[in-house]
């Protein structure tokens, strides 16, 4: 069986319908598409407004790590069919979808929700992408709090 795995770092607008079609097989009955979105207003932690985020990737390594995330998803949920992991980069305004984790299965009870959740958690842990927040109070780099060095 040849299941599609789509990995992409792109400056293009995301097209969820086209993406879903790319991970839909004849035996697909369920899909979950997680999307991260630029928050214009944040209330958790230090409340603030954001007009846009500047995304930057260490592209070749990011692609390799996105592929690793997809491999881990398949290993943990062997019933997965198609997987798409997309990270949009560049300057993205509030309200814009930035990241997609999409996956498909024959039935909704064989890991499609769990895999998508795992995928976005891992993407935020190990894929070398950074964002700089730009808002009314100036700009600053957002830093993650996960240190893969300490995992191993």
């Amino acid at each position: 069986m040849n299941y599609p795995t789509i990995i992409s770092i792109t400056e293009e607008k995301l097209d969820l319908d086209a993406l879903l079609a790319q991970v839909t097989l004849p035996s697909t009955g369920a899909s979950v598409v997680f999307t991260g979105i630029v928050r214009g207003l944040t209330t958790r932690g230090a409340a603030h407004a954001t007009s846009h985020l500047d995304y930057e990737a260490y592209q070749p390594m990011a692609e390799e790590k996105m592929r690793q995330v997809a491999d881990e998803m398949r290993q943990k949920w062997p019933d997965l069919q198609g997987i798409a992991i997309i990270q949009r980069v560049g300057r993205l305004a509030a309200g814009t979808p930035t990241t997609v984790i999409a996956c498909t299965t024959a039935h909704r009870d064989t890991g499609v929700f769990e895999a998508a959740r795992y995928g976005i958690d891992r993407l935020k842990e190990i894929v070398p992408v950074w964002k700089k927040e730009v808002g009314p109070d100036g700009e600053f780099w957002v830093e993650g709090d996960h240190h893969p060095k300490l995992d191993r």
């Binding site: 991260g36 995304y55 930057e56 990737a57 260490y58 070749p60 390594m61 990011a62 390799e64 990270q87 930035t98 990241t99 976005i120 993407l123 935020k124 842990e125 190990i126 894929v127 070398p128 992408v129 950074w130 964002k131 700089k132 780099w141 957002v142 830093e143 993650g144 709090d145 996960h146 240190h147 893969p148 060095k149 191993r152």
Partner: protein, 82 residues
């Protein structure tokens, strides 16, 4: 001595003032040793060195990893994509 090219991202690039730098290192230098060299040359890195992450040939590398000749080295802060 080997000449290594180092890629820098996000805050670290801002602190160093450049996307890539080149350094002369002796054979056997570890990521830890390379971090010492960088922090000595770019003092703003000192305060973030504990959270800096390193990659050798696009794979996360531990402090004790030896930098191979001709490798692609990168330093960056904890990732924040999504």
């Amino acid at each position: 001595m080997n000449r290594v090219k180092i890629l820098l991202f996000a805050t670290l690039r801002d602190y160093v003032g450049s996307k890539t730098i080149e350094l002369e290192i002796s054979a056997g230098t570890t990521i830890h040793g390379l971090t010492d060299l960088l922090a000595a040359k770019y003092p703003r890195l000192e305060k973030v060195r504990d959270s800096m992450m390193a990659a050798i040939n696009r794979e996360y590398a531990a402090d004790e990893a030896v930098v191979p000749d001709g490798a692609e080295i990168a330093f960056f802060p904890p990732v924040s994509g999504g």
